[in-house]
Structure formats: C-alpha cells, structure tokens
Symmetry: C2
Subunit: 144 residues, 2 copies
Amino acid sequence: MITNMKHIKNELEQKGIKPTYQRLCILEYLHAHLVHPTVEMIYDKLVERVPTMSKTTVYNTLKLLSEKGVINEITITGTEVRYDINCQSHHHFLCKKCGKIYDVDVTCPFANMDHKEISGHEIQEIHGYFKGICKECLTNQNNE
Amino acid sequence: MITNMKHIKNELEQKGIKPTYQRLCILEYLHAHLVHPTVEMIYDKLVERVPTMSKTTVYNTLKLLSEKGVINEITITGTEVRYDINCQSHHHFLCKKCGKIYDVDVTCPFANMDHKEISGHEIQEIHGYFKGICKECLTNQNNE
DNA sequence: ATTAAATTTGTAATGATTACAAATATGAAA
DNA sequence: TTTCATATTTGTAATCATTACAAATTTAAT
C-alpha cells in the first residue's frame, strides 16, 4: 500500500477535509500503524516529530476523520477508543489478557446486506468483534 | 419471564456467587430493566430503595457478574459501559442521536460456529452491533 | 497588507472507573 | 452464644480518557 504524504493529502482532499500538516501527520501515522492505537499512543509518537502537536488536536482530528468516514472508532475495550483506517470491512479480536486488538479475517456477514435499515433504524455502521485470549498469550500460559 | 427474588437467588448460587442483598438487588434490576443501563442509572435507582448502596458496590458486582457470565458488558458507546443480562445471543443497535441501545433480532452469524477459536485465538465472547439513527429519531427529524 | 474564518494549542473541567483502607456483615469453630 | 477469620460493602481519593473553552496561530481571500 502506497502511503506517502502526497497520497494522504489526496485522500483528505477527496473527502473535503483541508489537509493541514497536523491532519496529514495523524492520518499518515494511522496508515503506518495498523495496531489500532489509542489517542495516547498517537499523540506520544507524533509529539516527538512535531513538538507543537497538541493532544486536543489529535482528538479533534480523529473525530473529524471519523465523521467523514476516513477512519473508524473501535470501542471494544470500554475504557478508551482505538482507531483504525477504514479499509474493507473486517472484524476485530480483543485479547482480555494483553489488551491487543487483532484484525480478524472473517467477511462481515452483514456487509452485503441489501437493506440499509433494520427494524426501522437507519444503519450507518456495522461492527463485529470477538473477545478472548489471543494466540500469543495462550502459548505463554503454557510456559508458566 | 419469572424474575422474583427466589429465582434470582438461585441464579447466583448456581454460578457460585454468594447471593448477598446488594447483588440480588442489582441483578433483579437488570432483569427488570432491559434497556442496557449504565452504572449511573443502576446506582441512582437502587439507592432510592437501598440508601446504603454504594456506587463501588455496583461496580464490583457488575464486574463479578460479568466475569461469571451472568451478564454482558456492552461497550458500544466508547464513553461508558452498558449492562445487559446474558440471555440468548443477540445484537445491538446504538442510535448516534439519542444514545439509546436497542436489541436487534438478527441471529448471530457466528453463534453456531463449531470452532471456539479464530486464527489461533481462543474465543470467549462474540459481539455484533450496528450504529446509525434509530426509528424514533428518524420520524422526529421529519417533523422539524 | 488586512481582515475574517478556520485551525491549533494549552489549560481547566468533567465523567467514568479504579484503588484503597476502614467499616460492616457473614459463617464457621469453639 | 461468643470469637475469630474472611468476605463484602462502603466512602473517599486518585486516575484516566475525554470534552469545553478561550487565546494564539495559521490560512485564504480581498
């Protein structure tokens, strides 16, 4: 996947978002880090390169990108929002032990749902996720 | 559904949870209020009947019940956890406008999944939800 | 260069949740 | 029943994520 600044600038412009430097940095970070980072993680890394970066800007930008459909909010943990670039529909797996979120390769069962409503409610987003113990933690358990 | 205290006491005992008065009250409340309440909502109502009830107890109890599989944590909103008695597998719809969470009557596509693992991760919970604008808010919009 | 609008920034406030220790209730043993 | 150990509950203080807000800065158009 080509994710240089020029492409990211295009991505923002196509969605009608003014491509400011901060926004470019934040979106680039998400393209480069597909581990579903928190606001904290994004801010901590970016502030190293861009010392004037403010955490409020990270919040504002993520909110804007989310509203415009560029990224997704992942609300699995209940304590903090994680962020994901909005690519093809996929699901997530949250490890209850280490807290890591994995992409899961199951095709969303509702992705090709012809109707965009359910019980009269207008559907805008479809989410699915699993919780449990991840592969890595399972093998670690056996070695203890 | 019969949800008197005796049945709720049994429910707790069968799961190996000591049926204290506070726990009975909290679980009874969840049985009687299937609107996916927050901790705040549960506490505010119960403290009227049981003035000594502490919010920490509500937190502790909900955590315990959740760990024992008696109830489910719903982490759709990202800002607060909602609670649900753990009945048959179902999905949820969150209205982005009014914040209400509806039960949605779609059979979980993964419910009868024969394998309890995915990509090597051990599956303990399966969740699915939709976000959008609910029926009620849609009709209200048209009247404004 | 000027000005208005949009964006960014820092700080303070809010709200949910957790930590923790004291108080209380429970249940078994004497 | 009394005593003692353990589990539970309670209240307060701390923490952590998020939001509110106004001042500072940047941007874009005139």
